[in-house]
Amino acid sequence: MAGHVDTASSTAAERPPALSLGPIGWMRANLFNTWYNAILTVLIGWAILMIVPPLFRWAIVNAAGFDATSPQCRQATGACWAFVNEKMRFILFGTFPYAEQWRPLLATAIIVATLAAAANRRFWKPWFVAVSLGALALFGVLMWGGVLGMTYVENSLWGGLPLTLILSVIGLSVAFPFSILLALGRRSTMPAIKAICVAYIELIRGVPLVSLLFMASVMLPLFLPTGVNIDKLLRALVAFILFEAAYMAEAIRGGLQAMPKGQYEAADALGLNYWQAMRKIILPQALAISIPPLVNTFISTFKDTSLVIIIGLYDLLGTAKAALSDPAWRGFYREAYLFIGVIYWCFCFSMSKYSRWLEQDLNRGHKR
């Protein structure tokens, strides 16, 4: 190929070989490097061509307008985003009084902001616990109302995103202290305490959440003294607290086991008793290691809150299903499920990214 090039011009800057650099080179290295990869690439490319353009036409080109009516939507061949537009506030906030829906919006924003702040290591200080409790209290005030001129809204009217958040966040915060005790108990040298903790953790982890929700909804009223009545939301919360305590205890146990023995011995050498050693030396380090698995537990709980639909609570999935049962808008399940799917996905994906980042960040000290 280069046979006719004379030696004088070879000192001039040579062009890089087009076949191994640039977009073509990249494709040769990453898409067509072997014969089977070439076949795979062609097949996948064909599948993408078959799927993506129709999806694009459905979602955007042929979609009915945002303020279309239901009959207009039924005539359109594409998506009906008007359904989401129409039902958005119901899906997000359930049956909360329409005029007052700024309250759940603000309450949700407060919880999300607190969660986002808690992700920042600068805020991992004792005073932040007080701030979080304050945020939860503010959430309660906004949702219940009854003070500062806000009308009282009973919690059977709560639904949608605030309910999803409340079940996962309150479940997490109440279960957290219990889970620490359970994790410590499981590693205890006292046989009776260890046996009780192991039995509890394994029992809860061996049964599905649905059965715990059932227990809370049909058996809890039987367990309590006659006359004491607790509402559905509290029953679901009890189930979530029991459930999360066991799973978080296992995450924390992992952190405790990762602590080198020298730390325990150093605490003993300083003359600290068990609780002092735990509080001042072991737990601060073990909990920091446990945070990534704890975040993962939180993600699964967040997804699991959708199960409360089974005992008749209307969380995000429940309100979406309820919105679909409106006769005028029946059948637009694609749009509804896509809408809440995106909401769930944004929460879970950002948390899982955070947990992976944190894991690497916490590991940085041990890596060279």
């Binding site: 990453n30 898409l31 490097n33 072997t34 990869n37 795979l40 690439t41 996948i44 490319g45 040298t189 006292m190 046989p191 009776a192 305490i193 009780i196 029992l203 061996g206 049964v207 599905p208 959440l209 649905v210 059965s211 059932f214 227990m215 049909v218 058996m219 009223p221 039987l222 367990f223 309590l224 003294p225 006659t226 993600i299 997804k303 699991d304 809150t305 959708s306 199960l307 639909i309 089974i310 999935l317 299903k321 059948g331 399940y333 694609r334 499920y337 809440i340 799917g341 769930y344 996905w345 879970c348 994906f349 899982s352």
Partner: protein, 395 residues
């Protein structure tokens, strides 16, 4: 602890809380007392409430007529049967979806996990997208989507799609023809079992022979011959029956053939695809955990790529993969209880109906929990046994 040696200088104090042994006993008695008090409180309340509501306790209701129908069942069941039999149907349905789901999820998960490590950029990105999307959306939502897709995109029974002769796709699910009942099939089934047993024995023999003489034996190929060949001989010897049980449209539904109901299909696909996303991550991690030096060492020993993969890489990767995969299998089994929400008659769904009809809430919930504990425990025991078999044998 060795703290009691410190006491030697002091006068022996009797029953002080500073004595670790005494303290341990004191705390344990305290905790057990607390647990017992809580149990007593709950039980006495429960008995009190049951008496007030005039609910009889006990499992006698299991002998009563269930009088509700069940959509699909492996064993014969009619509404005239007892609650006890309905419960067995539920357990079998749960096991059916769990076992097939576990196999399917393992296959899909392994393929996706390997695809994530593919040198093909497009394939790796696609697999990453699959994992990131699927595992961050609640499984219940995915089940609803699958159920809607299957029921609404399929035509009604009268206009059933008929892509292959005898195969019908409709809102009632997928119906496929199966070979008509014939005693020969029993023999074919026995032949398959015999083939498996013979392969295991042959594998053991080949291992002993290789250890003694160094002669390898093509175990994999011979096993295939045994497992496929023996049933084939039985089939031909039995006269090779070719009558098929083809589904026929009768009235509003299909008769005959094998029916895959939309509920079952939705829960099976939904759970398998959800769990596969987690298994894919585990498989990918397991393969990455085997250092590249191992492949190089195998190559240096002159092993071919396939042999190196089978004898060097896979055994080490499996050691990392098996324990977390076990918990994924358990999750899939527990998640099969979501069947309740889409109407597949699993254990929870049938016991839920039972509780609603009889009011025996405590017994019903106890049966749900007991069954799942038993299933979880069996899976754990089996996987622990398998894990021990493949674990590193250290000196």
């Amino acid at each position: 602890m060795a703290t009691h040696t410190q006491d030697s200088g002091r006068a022996p104090s009797r029953l002080s809380l500073n004595d670790p042994t005494v303290r341990a006993i004191f705390f344990q008695v305290l905790v057990i007392g607390g647990v017992l008090a809580l149990a007593f409180f709950l039980v006495s309340n429960t008995l009190d409430n049951l008496e007030r509501r005039a609910i009889a306790t006990g499992f006698h209701f299991l002998d009563r007529e269930a009088s509700f129908g069940i959509g699909e069942s492996i064993i014969d069941y009619s509404p005239k049967d007892t609650y006890g039999k309905a419960f067995v149907v539920g357990i079998l349905n749960t096991l059916k979806v769990s076992v097939i789901g576990i196999v399917l999820a393992t296959v899909i998960g392994t393929l996706i996990g390997i695809a994530r490590l593919s040198s093909n950029w497009l394939l790796a990105r696609l697999a990453t997208g699959y994992v990131e999307i699927i595992r961050n959306i609640p499984p219940l939502l995915q089940l609803f989507v699958w159920y809607q897709v299957i029921t609404e995109s399929m035509p009604p029974v009268r206009l059933a799609l008929n892509p292959l002769p005898g195969v019908f796709l409709s809102q009632r699910g997928i119906t496929v023809p199966v070979p008509a009942a014939d005693p020969v099939w029993t023999w074919v089934f026995i032949a398959v079992l015999l083939g498996f047993i013979a392969s295991v024995i042959m594998g053991k023999w080949a291992k002993i022979r290789q250890a003694a003489t160094g002669q390898p034996f093509p175990v994999l190929g011979m096993s295939l011959v045994l497992i496929l060949g023996l049933p084939l001989i039985a089939y031909v010897a039995g006269g090779a029956p070719s009558v098929m049980d083809v589904p026929q449209l009768q009235g509003f539904n299909f008769r005959g053939g094998l029916v895959l109901s939309p509920e079952f299909a939705a829960i099976l696909f939904g759970l398998s695809i959800y769990t596969a996303a987690f298994i894919a991550e585990i498989v990918r991690g397991g393969i990455l955990a085997v250092s590249y030096g191992q492949s190089e060492a195998a190559a240096a020993l002159g092993l071919k790529r396939g042999v190196a993969l089978r004898l060097v890489i896979l055994p080490q990767a499996l050691r990392v993969i098996v324990p977390p995969t076990t918990s994924q299998f358990l999750n899939l089994t527990k998640n099969s209880s979501l069947a309740l929400a889409i109407g597949y008659p699993d254990l929870v769904s049938i016991l839920n109906t039972t509780i609603n009809q009889t009011g025996q809430a405590i017994e019903g919930v106890a049966m749900i929990m007991g069954s799942y504990l038993a299933i979880s425990l069996s899976i754990s025991l089996f996987m622990n046994w398998y894990n021990k078999r493949i674990a590193l044998v250290e000196r």
